[in-house]
C-alpha cells in the first residue's frame, strides 16, 4: 500500500540565530510587549533586573497591535537598529 505523507514541505527560507552577546554589561535593552493585561508590568520588572545587575539601559519599547500575531517586520527591524537585545513574553 502506497501512502502520501500528509505533512508539509519545509519553508524555503534560511533562519539563523543571532550571535550570542559576549557580555550583558551596559547593553541597551528593548521591550516588546504584546498589549495584554500585565504584559508591560512584567517585562519592566524583568528589565529592571538587568538594569540592577548588569547596568543595562532601556533603549526602546515596542508594541504589537495583535497579541497573537507575529510582530510586524517593521517593528523588529526598528528594534534591531536601536537595542542590543530584546525582552518579550506573554502577559495575560
Amino acid at each position: 500500500m502506497r501512502l502520501y505523507d500528509p505533512t508539509a514541505s519545509g519553508p524555503e527560507r534560511s533562519l539563523a540565530r543571532a550571535a550570542v552577546l559576549a557580555s550583558l554589561e551596559g547593553k541597551t535593552i528593548g521591550i516588546l510587549e504584546n498589549g495584554k493585561l500585565n504584559a508591560m508590568e512584567m517585562l519592566r520588572e524583568v528589565a529592571s533586573l538587568f538594569e540592577e545587575r548588569h547596568g543595562c539601559v532601556i533603549g526602546g519599547i515596542y508594541s504589537k497591535s495583535n497579541a497573537s500575531a507575529p510582530a510586524p517586520a517593521g517593528v523588529l527591524e526598528k528594534a534591531m537598529g536601536e537595542v542590543d537585545f530584546l525582552i518579550t513574553g506573554l502577559g495575560d
Binding site: L3, T7, A8, N66
Partner: protein, 358 residues
C-alpha cells in the same frame, strides 16, 4: 523542499496495519484515519483546477505552506469524498487572510476551533446537513470537512496539541466544527447572498469559535423574547468581550423572529443593543478595562453603543446570524469568538469558483 519530492510511504497491504502506521507517524487527531492511498488522493485532486503544488495558505510564523496536494492528502485521511474538496480549499483560502489569524487562534490558550458555515446550493449538492442534529453527529460531509480542517492544522501547519497548540481545555469542535446553513423554510436571504456573491455561488464562512452555548427558550413567542434569551447568553460574564459572535437560530426561533417581519439587520441591531453589561458589573468580576471601553466608546463608536455599558462586539455587523437545525425544538445557539477583541475576524470565500481573481 521542491514539490517533486512528495514523500511516499510504502506500507504493508493490510488496512488495519496501515491505520496503525498512521497513528505511529503522529498523523491523527486521536481517532483512526483513512490511510491516504495514492489513488484516493489523485481522485480528490480532480476537484481542484490548480496544480497540486499551488499554495493555498501559508503559516505566518513558520512559513509552512499548505499546497493543494497536502490538502487533498489530509482530506482523504479525514474521510472526505472528492466532491467535498472545494469546500476545504475555500475554507483555507478564507483562513489564510491575515485578519483571520489562524496561527493565533489555533495556538492560543483560548481553545478556539475554526467553525465553518457553508451557505448555498453546494452544501445541498454534496449532502451536507443543515437540519436535525446540525452540529452532529451523523453526516459525513459535515464531519469530515471539519475534521480535515483540523488535520491540516495539525499535519501541515504543525499546530500540535500541547506543543504549538496550547489550549487550556481544548474544545470538542477541535475534532470537527462544520455546518451548513439551512435554506429550507428560511425567511431571510442566505449568507452567501448577503455576502454579495452572484446567484448560484455558494460560500464558506470561517470563524474562530469558542465553545458552544445552547440557548433554550420554549416559552417565548415574540422576537424580543427569543432574541432577549440569545442576548443574555452573549452577555454572560464568561463570554462578553469586544469579539464577534455567531448565532444559529433554530427554525422554531427563526420562524418567530422572521415571521414577525424582522430582518437579519433588525435582529443584529437588537442583539447588539441588548448584549451588554454595565461598567459596574464588569468591574465586579474583574473584567473591566479602560482600554477596551475606550475602543468601543471612542470617536468611531457605533451609534447604538450606550454610555456606561460594555457591549459584546463593536457593532451589529459583528454578529453573524444564520438558521440551522431540525424543525422541532426551541434550541438555538451562541458561539463566542476566540478573540476578545479584533485578533481574529471572520472571513468568507466562494466555493469552487474564482471571483475577481488575479
Amino acid at each position: 523542499m521542491p514539490f517533486d519530492s512528495r514523500r511516499i510511504h510504502d506500507v504493508p497491504g493490510d488496512l488495519l496495519a496501515a491505520i496503525d502506521y498512521c497513528y505511529e507517524q503522529g498523523w491523527t487527531d486521536g481517532l483512526p484515519v483513512i490511510p491516504p492511498v495514492v489513488e484516493r488522493v489523485e481522485a480528490t485532486l480532480m476537484y481542484e483546477g490548480r496544480p497540486p503544488e499551488a499554495v493555498i495558505a501559508t503559516h505566518p510564523a513558520t512559513g509552512l505552506r499548505l499546497t493543494v496536494h497536502a490538502a487533498a492528502v489530509n482530506a482523504v485521511m479525514a474521510g472526505c469524498l472528492p466532491e467535498y474538496f472545494p469546500v476545504l480549499v475555500a475554507a483555507f483560502e478564507a483562513m489564510d487572510q491575515p485578519e483571520f489569524n489562524f496561527h493565533g487562534s489555533t495556538a492560543s490558550t483560548g481553545g478556539s476551533a475554526p467553525l465553518l458555515i457553508v451557505s448555498g446550493k453546494y452544501a445541498e449538492d454534496i449532502g451536507m446537513n443543515a437540519d436535525v442534529n446540525l452540529f452532529g453527529p451523523g453526516n459525513r460531509a459535515n464531519a469530515t470537512i471539519g475534521r480535515a480542517t483540523r488535520l491540516i492544522l495539525r499535519n501541515v501547519f504543525q499546530m500540535i496539541p500541547g506543543i504549538s497548540d496550547k489550549s487550556t481545555q481544548g474544545n470538542p469542535g477541535k475534532y470537527s466544527f462544520c455546518i451548513a446553513e439551512r435554506a429550507r423554510g428560511n425567511p431571510w436571504p442566505l449568507l452567501c447572498e448577503a455576502q454579495g456573491y452572484p446567484p448560484g455561488v455558494s460560500s464558506v464562512t470561517v470563524f474562530a469559535g469558542g465553545g458552544f452555548c445552547n440557548v433554550e427558550n420554549h416559552g417565548g413567542n415574540t422576537p424580543e423574547q427569543i432574541l432577549g434569551s440569545v442576548a443574555d447568553a452573549m452577555a454572560n460574564y464568561g463570554c462578553i468581550t469586544l469579539g464577534q459572535s455567531v448565532v444559529v437560530l433554530s427554525p422554531e426561533h427563526m420562524w418567530i423572529v422572521g415571521g414577525a417581519g424582522w430582518s437579519r439587520e433588525d435582529a443584529q441591531a437588537f442583539l447588539f443593543a441588548r448584549a451588554k453589561r454595565s461598567v459596574e458589573d464588569m468591574r465586579s468580576v474583574g473584567k473591566y478595562r479602560d482600554s477596551e471601553y475606550g475602543k468601543q466608546h471612542g470617536a468611531s463608536a457605533h451609534a447604538a453603543v450606550e454610555e456606561g455599558f460594555v457591549h459584546r462586539g463593536l457593532m451589529p455587523e459583528d454578529i453573524l446570524i444564520a438558521m440551522g437545525g431540525g424543525d422541532a425544538g426551541g434550541h438555538s445557539c451562541f458561539i463566542p469568538s476566540w478573540s476578545r477583541g479584533r485578533g481574529s475576524i471572520m472571513r468568507h470565500k466562494p466555493i469552487g469558483v474564482c471571483i475577481d481573481c488575479d
